[in-house]
């Protein structure tokens, strides 16, 4: 019977060995996993949705917008992969418009694009809910749902939307576009979501396009709208566009 007795010191040795083995293996596992978890944390993009507290908008100073300058249009076309053509079937997201008051002779030049209305008629008429307004006020076309019926193009009082008539190739990976769908200015949503300004605002040599959050009382755009006279185009339609014009 005495043979079966276990030496207490032996137990301790085994326990110690096991403990140190567990410790080292835990350490090794931690070292192996940690960089992966850190990398994963760094690598995933923006996981929170667009905020309803924000309302993105623009203030366009027509006094600064130069007649004949087309830089915003060029920047938009380059960013979003549009051709520079202006034919009847070529998509255009921004157009430069020249206005002249016939009685006074005062001439104006301004960029015209999707006005990102608070109550967008294009969203009202869309039969597939492809046209929609994002929580932060950006009006977009969900091309996964768009059937190309073009009701929204007829509903838009600003003629801001275009239909893609031709097959496209070599699109910007950030801006998917394709034949058979309607599209318009996205306020460069892919840039805005990364904290950048829209391409047109960045490209304007005269700083005529001011982009920002209309709801943030301390933002540059909100302060300027409070201090200078600005107008919405076709304000009588009560669509409350997010794009405002100064000196109109």
């Amino acid at each position: 019977m005495s043979d079966c007795k276990i030496n207490p010191t032996e137990i301790n040795m085994v326990d110690l060995k096991r403990r140190s083995f567990l410790k080292t293996s835990l350490g090794v596992v931690a070292v192996a996993i940690a960089p992966g978890m850190l990398l994963f944390d760094v690598a995933h993009g923006k996981s929170e949705p667009a905020s309803g507290k924000v309302r993105w908008g623009m203030l366009i100073d027509t006094n600064q917008c130069k007649d004949g300058c087309n830089d915003c249009v060029g920047a938009c076309n380059k960013e979003n992969g549009l051709s520079d053509k202006t034919g009847a079937t070529d998509p255009q997201w921004i157009r430069k418009i020249e206005l002249k008051d016939s009685s006074s002779g005062r001439a104006l030049s301004l960029p015209m694009m999707c006005q990102h209305c608070e109550h967008p008629p294009c969203v009202d008429v869309c039969p597939t809910t492809a046209s929609f307004k994002r929580a932060d006020g950006i009006v977009l076309v969900d091309k996964h749902r768009c059937i190309g019926c073009r009701y929204c193009m007829m509903a838009c009082p600003y003629k801001a939307r275009s239909f893609v008539h031709e097959p496209l190739h070599d699109q910007n990976p950030d801006v998917p576009r394709g034949k058979g769908t309607v599209e318009s200015c996205t306020l460069c949503v892919h840039r805005v979501d990364q904290g950048q300004r829209p391409a047109c605002a960045e490209a304007c040599p005269n700083k005529a396009i001011l982009f920002g959050d209309l709801n943030d009382a301390n933002s540059e755009i909100a302060m300027k709208i409070r201090s200078v006279a600005s107008a919405q185009v076709r304000a009588d339609l009560q669509l409350n566009p997010g794009i405002r014009y100064q000196g109109l």
Binding site: S47, D142, P173, T181
Partner: protein, 122 residues
């Protein structure tokens, strides 16, 4: 009985070999596993992509983990930076084998973003 077994074996080996020969040869690019194991992804990648696309387009959630752009980043061929350029490209090889039309790339770019940016820098 022995004869029957050996006969069966003789019949099975070429069958297995032939099945293996028919499998698509896929250029998996850099490859690697960041979402789920390959077998799960083969069955379910379309569900992930469909869920993610609505989250991104409609709600502005730009989580990269299951975004199409992030898939392309690793699975585009090292040779031509694309998942659709050749018959053995990552998306094309399987979809052709399974005879399932892939619509994504009528609008989406099948090219790795870094390569596209480099090409369009000028």
């Amino acid at each position: 009985m022995k004869l029957l077994a050996s006969l069966l074996l003789c019949l099975c080996i070429p069958a297995v070999w032939a099945a293996g020969a028919d499998m698509p040869k896929i250029d998996i690019g850099k490859g690697g596993q960041c979402v789920k194991d390959p077998q799960w992804m083969r069955k379910n990648h379309m569900r992930l992509l469909k869920h993610q696309r609505d989250e991104t387009v409609r709600n502005g959630v730009r989580d990269e983990k299951s975004s199409l752009k992030n898939c392309i980043e690793c699975h585009a061929s090292i040779k031509d930076d694309s998942v659709i350029a050749r018959d053995d490209s990552f998306c094309v090889a399987c979809h052709r084998y399974e005879a399932v039309k892939v619509d994504c790339f009528e609008c989406h770019s099948g090219e790795r973003k870094s390569a596209w940016l480099q090409r369009n820098a000028k």
